[in-house]
């Protein structure tokens, strides 16, 4: 039905599939604890889980620990077996061979983002983690928003902090599990030695951390959404609607597409949602109409929309089918002022769309 693109799995899904296949036979899983800044308590949450798993009889070791440790973290570490990292004059790296020889069920790697000393088997620690997973060892690991490559610049713009040690976002998206460790900024700062303020945002420092917190929550939501989609595909169940706002702009040569695209972009940004734009290719378009549509496509792409051409004799059915597949929550459609014989015969397309789009909002734009 669609001519522009065959439904292809995203790189994230492919990577996830590969990782899943590699580790499936062993049941090894990667679980990542994400925090928006140092001091949210990631290490504690992670080591507490390691301790509980150890108490329940799982074979748990610790392969890497953070340099600075709170008393609580030290108390947890005392209950767990440590495989010390290798120390070289150029820095340290986890002792991959020692962990592989020891072959535990679960290994704690804290933190995930680190560059290995020159001469190590892998340049980055996240590659060590991949090797552990391939060898059937589950990994618990932690990461700060600053150390996710795609967020590095945003975090730097807000806090002024910089780093060279990052992991790709695709690594997060491919993890089996992600948990966000959320804590109010005042407690986060207090754990870093600041004075405790009252509940809520009290100063500019907390305000900045709050911005990072929002980004971390949205990143986690994105990962959870990707997992949900994988789950839906794997189980062949109907897609889940309404967890996330997704807008679909239906472009025709005679609708007010620029206004719809502009509004779509604003809605996408405000809802932190996604924007799609489609054109249903009907028979008998003039050259002028085709030029107009091409212009709309460019505008939609510039607004950050995923665009597609649908080909169908029944445009309404094609739009609704596309909307269901993409889990659209709101369809933008222009009200055509043209009164054609087709409309008189088949009924107003806007009304037919409203009737067909059960469970999806329809926003009608004036011409």
């Amino acid at each position: 039905m669609r001519v522009s693109e065959l439904p292809r799995p995203s790189p994230e899904r492919l990577l996830k599939q590969v990782q899943a296949e590699e580790s499936k036979q062993w049941g090894a899983k990667l679980k990542i604890f994400l925090g928006y800044a140092p001091g949210v308590g990631k290490s504690y949450r992670m080591l507490d889980e390691a301790r509980r798993r150890h108490d329940r009889g799982e074979d748990v070791v610790v392969g890497a620990v953070q340099g600075q440790q709170s008393e609580d973290v030290q108390a947890l570490l005392r209950k767990l077996e440590l495989i010390p990292p290798l120390q070289t004059p150029d820095g340290q790296a986890i002792d991959l061979d020692a962990i592989l020889r020891r072959a535990p069920q679960v290994c704690v790697i804290d933190p995930l983002a680190a560059q290995n000393a020159p001469g190590s088997r892998h340049a980055y620690r996240w590659q060590d983690v991949q090797e552990l997973l391939r060898n059937g060892i589950s990994v618990l690991s932690s990461v700060n928003l600053l150390h996710v490559e795609e967020y590095k610049e945003k975090v730097q713009a807000i806090t002024g902090k910089n780093t060279t040690e990052t992991i790709p976002k695709s690594f997060l998206l491919a993890a089996d599990d992600i948990v966000i460790v959320d804590v109010p900024p005042d407690l986060c700062l207090w754990r870093q030695g600041e004075k405790l303020t009252s509940t809520g945002i009290s100063n500019s420092q907390e305000r900045k951390l709050s911005e990072l917190r929002e980004l971390a929550l949205l990143l986690t939501a994105e990962v959870v959404d990707a997992q949900l989609e994988t789950y839906v595909h794997a189980h062949g169940i109907e897609p889940v609607f309404g967890t996330h706002e997704r807008f679909l702009v239906c472009m025709t040569p005679h609708s007010n597409a620029p206004a719809m695209i502009e509004s779509g972009e604003r809605n996408k940004d405000r809802f932190q949602g996604e924007l799609y734009a489609v054109y249903v290719c009907g028979p008998g378009r003039s050259k002028r109409e085709r030029v107009t549509i091409r212009r709309y496509f460019d505008a939609a792409k510039k607004a950050g929309a995923s665009t597609e051409i649908l080909e169908s004799n029944d445009p309404i059915a094609a739009i609704v089918e596309f909307a269901r597949e993409k889990r659209i929550t709101q369809i933008f459609i222009g009200h055509s002022t043209r009164d054609t014989w087709r409309d008189r015969f088949f009924g107003d397309p806007v009304l037919r769309l409203i009737r067909a789009a059960e469970g999806i909002d329809v926003r009608v734009f004036p011409h």
Binding site: K154, D177, V179, I180, D182, P184, L187, S198, T199, G200, S204, R207, K208, S210, E211, R213, E214, L215, L217, L218, T220, A221, V224, D225, L228, Y231, V232, E238, V240, F241, G242, T243, H244, E245, E265, R266, N267, D269, R270, Q272, K302, A303, G304, R324, Q330, H335, D348, V350, L351, I354, R355, E358, G359, I360, D361, V362, R363, V364, P366, H367
Partner: protein, 383 residues
């Protein structure tokens, strides 16, 4: 102890989760304990007596204000003793389960009403709730899970909170806890697995919780910025291609009718308005603008919807007019409305009755307005 006029209101902190068992209560009690160790006067004002062992362990290290025992139909129920908490007058009171409905015979119907009393007295309150209890999310939750949640908390109450904390856990870990019997009693586990804990529900509720928490965090940033000339790059501006915020302010008009779908329309309107930072008003149009002239049943329904809109901080108006669509559009134009919200069922109903379409009439008349037909989210999708 009655609060004096100059007692500042207590702050509210909400621990937000996506299901029973994610660890909201545990986190609240752990934070309470940490505060007590710092020398803050913290008490437990209410916590579920059937809590898990590790939660009880957290609670045991804190002072508990004894619950009120209420006899109802031969059984003993425990509720928060709000008056006793007021007499004890701590700095911070921990109150589990904000969405709880008190047993018949209590002074107030809802626990969130008790919490208001504590806040008014200047006591800081920390409390717990799940995302499905937020009023404006009711229809989305219904659409996602097929479950309609009866006990809800008005958005305004959540919005009062100075702080929202997301309590996160993976669905796998939660299901393990459930199967170990750490969340519900054994006889309840099966019911849970067929309801909220089924299939993709937990993941969807979790995503919704994270997005809601992000939204709440964002609202508090805006509120902070309004009180101070504080500049930090906003996410939308940091994003490549983000839209700068120089757009004219959106105004949303919700068209109220007696139809039950109006409740959904109000919730959706509130939600969209919150995200777009838009104003929101609700309008009921009747021939004479006199509600007293409506048949009793219709009047009750309309009044209920108007009250509901006001409870979500949406201003309401009743206007006279024989041609409903014309009146709605003219009102919209006079009040600089940018979007009119109408219910999906309304379209179908009026269409059938009059052989023409209400939405179409509005669209035709409102050349400069957008019309949003809000879907009936109670119907599950079939693809």
């Amino acid at each position: 102890m009655p609060a004096s006029v100059d007692t500042p209101r207590g702050s509210l902190k909400v621990y937000l989760g996506y299901a029973a068992g994610v660890g909201k209560t545990f986190q609240m009690l752990a934070d309470g304990r940490a505060a007590a160790q710092r020398g803050v006067d913290v008490v437990i004002a209410y916590f579920e007596p059937h809590a898990r062992p590790d939660t009880i362990e957290q609670a045991e290290r804190l002072e508990i204000v004894p619950h009120r025992k209420i006899e109802y139909r031969g059984k003993t129920f425990q509720e928060m003793d709000t008056e006793a908490v007021l007499r004890r007058n701590p700095s911070i009171a921990l109150v589990d389960e904000l969405a709880h409905t008190n047993i018949s015979g209590s002074a107030r119907t809802k626990r969130w009403e008790d919490v208001q009393v504590l806040l008014d007295a200047g006591i800081e309150v920390w409390t717990t709730m799940n995302v499905q209890h937020i009023e404006s999310l009711n229809d989305q939750i219904w659409q996602i899970t097929g479950i309609q949640v009866r006990e809800t908390v008005p958005d305004g109450i959540v919005r009062q909170a100075a702080e929202i904390v997301a309590v996160d856990v993976t669905p796998d870990a939660l299901l393990n806890r459930l199967k170990r019997g750490a969340v519900y009693k054994p006889e309840m586990v099966e019911k849970a697995l067929a309801g909220f804990f089924k299939g993709s529900n937990l993941g969807a509720l979790r995503e919704l919780t994270l997005r809601q928490a992000a939204h709440e965090v964002d609202l508090r940033q805006s509120a902070y910025d309004e009180t101070r000339a504080f500049q930090v790059p906003r996410i939308s501006e940091v994003r490549p291609g983000g839209v700068a915020d120089n757009q004219p302010k959106e105004r949303i008009l919700i068209h109220i009718t007696a139809d039950p779908s109006t409740a959904m329309l109000i919730r959706r309107g509130r939600r969209v308005a919150d995200y777009l930072h838009a104003d929101c008003i609700a309008l009921f149009v009747h021939r004479t603008a006199q509600l007293s002239e409506l048949p009793a049943q219709e009047r009750e329904a309309v009044e209920k919807h108007l009250r509901f809109a006001r409870s979500l901080q949406i201003g309401t108006q009743v206007v006279g007019g024989t041609d409903i669509s014309k009146t709605v559009v003219e009102f919209a134009r006079r009040n600089q409305v940018t979007q009119i919200f109408v219910a999906h069922s309304e379209v179908l109903l009026l269409d059938r009755l009059r052989g023409r379409n209400f939405t179409e009439n509005i669209v035709r008349k409102a050349q400069d307005l957008q019309v949003t037909v809000v879907a009936d989210r109670s119907r599950r999708q079939v693809s």
